[in-house]
Symmetry: C2
Subunit: 483 residues, 2 copies
Amino acid sequence: MRIMAEAEQPRSRDEVQQQLKEVQELLGRHRLVEDLVHRQEMPRHDLVEGLVHKQHVAELSERLDALHPADIADLLETLPLDERLFVWELVRAERDGDILLEVSDAVRESLIETMAPEELKAAAETLDADELADLAPDLPEEVMEDVYLSLDLEERAQLRAAMSYAEDAVGALMEFEMVTIREDVSLEVVLRYLRRFEELPDHTDQLFVIDRAEQLRGVLPINSLLINDPECTVSEVMIAEPLTLRPDDKAEDAASAFERYDLVSAPVVGTEGRLMGRVTVADVVDFIREDADAEILSHAGLREGEDIFAPVLDSVKNRWAWLAVNLVTAFVASRVIGVFEGSIEKLVALAALMPIVAGIGGNSGNQTITMIVRAMAMGQLGGDSAIRLLKKETGVALFNGVVWGSLLGVVAWLLYGGWQLGLVMTAATTLNLLLAAAMGVFIPMTMQRLGRDPALGSSVLITACTDSGGFFIFLGLATLFLV
Amino acid sequence: MRIMAEAEQPRSRDEVQQQLKEVQELLGRHRLVEDLVHRQEMPRHDLVEGLVHKQHVAELSERLDALHPADIADLLETLPLDERLFVWELVRAERDGDILLEVSDAVRESLIETMAPEELKAAAETLDADELADLAPDLPEEVMEDVYLSLDLEERAQLRAAMSYAEDAVGALMEFEMVTIREDVSLEVVLRYLRRFEELPDHTDQLFVIDRAEQLRGVLPINSLLINDPECTVSEVMIAEPLTLRPDDKAEDAASAFERYDLVSAPVVGTEGRLMGRVTVADVVDFIREDADAEILSHAGLREGEDIFAPVLDSVKNRWAWLAVNLVTAFVASRVIGVFEGSIEKLVALAALMPIVAGIGGNSGNQTITMIVRAMAMGQLGGDSAIRLLKKETGVALFNGVVWGSLLGVVAWLLYGGWQLGLVMTAATTLNLLLAAAMGVFIPMTMQRLGRDPALGSSVLITACTDSGGFFIFLGLATLFLV
């Protein structure tokens, strides 16, 4: 359980901004002194320098102690590597674990690299089993072994359990800390029992009612505990068939349940009805945010979030796969053009007009596919929707083709003075929009049928179709009718 | 306050899926009967038909009553318009309001269109002031006037307040229902006070401590109420300086605070320290999800989420603006090519190779701009980061330019057999990647400096630069050195 010191309380945005600014200023002054000394512009009066330096460091250190771990994590993410490590040194060791949990993966790596095994071990030992499981993949093996040995039997079992689930399973979001009660006691007894706690786990909006075999019998919302007569027994006021999650449910489905039903926590139950842990809305909020971030990043072909101050080579690694795929599709499109080089030689206007046909197809196809992938993610596509969707998208494409295609035809005619060229432009635009609509429905539907994530690479695939297809349609029609 | 009937309790994903499937099946059978009757293939034995029909409808209606409003909303979103309206008719009127709140904007419009003013009024009157404010923009004016007149004075003030804030302000997320207490009473008194409630507002994880002037004095977490001695007074155990939000704070900042500090609720305080309402994590979860959705949709140039069964013209309206912008940028790129038509006529290989140069620049630029826009949204970019970022992105571009550019150069040489063409290809690729890096940093930085949302249209802008720029660089170099 995280113990919140007075100094670590949540603060308003303005306050945090102000504090971060002050820290940044202190860092700036520190950097200035270092720079001056380094450039030998300041006489090396060791005493003076030492004093100035020490004063700043002490002040910085004090400011850092007053910040919440999440705010320190933010600060670390905004700092370039040298300043980041300088600040990291100043943070009190017992807070290292909490902060490592909060920073982004890329920044976490940069911090862990600089820490000695003993430091890492000490940091890891301040964490709960479920938090440890989150950190484990980034820790050196020998550190994890030491930490594992330092746990008691129950914690070891929890750690093993937490690490056994896929990253996108409920098991990976699960916490083990919760309050359990028996169903045959009175609310009065429950109230007295709770008073023996130093602190309740975060997000305790309900108590879990279990029997001797640890089977979940129901849940007692704290609200029911508060409004009902203390003489009632737990079994009288508990919810006997609460919503439960299973550890191998998809995290996405759990998130959707939290969203639909406005939950704060939900019990996780194993195969024989045994209560294993719980998921809280805090974990769900983090999951939703990370999931959305991953989707936005993957649209641009980034494998993961980047430390914006990462070395060049790290960035190259994060981005190369997508660039390579795009290069291949661009090469294919280029070869399609290559087939029609003879026609272009005869009518060079084709070279100038062809990117327009390809481009509008790509944009329109991306609109279709984005909409369908989102509808799929929200489970809005039933059995016979493919046909309906195809009809609708074809309708939209036909409408746009006639409107925009005619406009483009007129422009081509005015520019190059041949009405036949205008007609080919109109026809090619319309046909490529129809191709975009068809592929925009077909690609995600097929991906889903093959059991793959329809979002993954959908944008590359559709653009590849509309580029090569657009060039082929436009240059093909031109070759048939114009050349 | 939403009152949850037994039947409306949250259910596990599987259970909901099963129920929705059964409802869909019933709908299918209903549709079959209608179709047969319509096509006159079934003899019109009114009696038989009527019975079959009635039996299905009764069964459907029963199933619908057992579903949570959020699940009915989902069902409505998956159904084509005719079946959607058929189901909507069957839903009990007193649940209309809750369901209208849960469905997407596009589907809400389709439902409201079919409702009589009295029905809408009845539905609206089941809602709280803050919920009403969410629905208000979609309701006909005369309905809103009637509803407004039916409210008591306090509710009217709340509705006016809720509607006065921008959609992206904390005020728009605010709820008015909460439990307030005084600081001089004992916890025992608070516990007795709470027992007088029928039910506590959802997400009551803390009580708000106010004085006679409704100034917020502190908050009493329910956890503190439970673990402390009932003899203590509220002022002894309350948190005196809690995190507070202001109604005109950005919703985004509030969401970030909930995420960082794992909050369940937070008080909203007006200018003179007066407690106005609270924000709960349920509102924040919805906001985060909608915000992420809007970002993903806007990447593909969709103004808002579409009802996937919307009429063609609605879809056209939702998508035309982006297509128009892209057409303009494609036209500019086409004119750049037009300038070099003479060179293409002499060396037609240029026409086939130029889209590769433009394409790789576009992809690389989109990677850069996506990463920077995300870093900005998370407040990771400080004062002097522009220079640092530019250095890093230039490094990545130079690396990629040399690696991929050389590869492309070799390919061009092999295909068209001129080493000079290969060199031009390599140089143009590298230069366009550098342009992409520079614009990828420059565009969002400038947008932010101008006080605009850097995400908006960033992808169009960068693609416009790398398309026109890529064609210009490649064809320009070719004209200088090859033709």
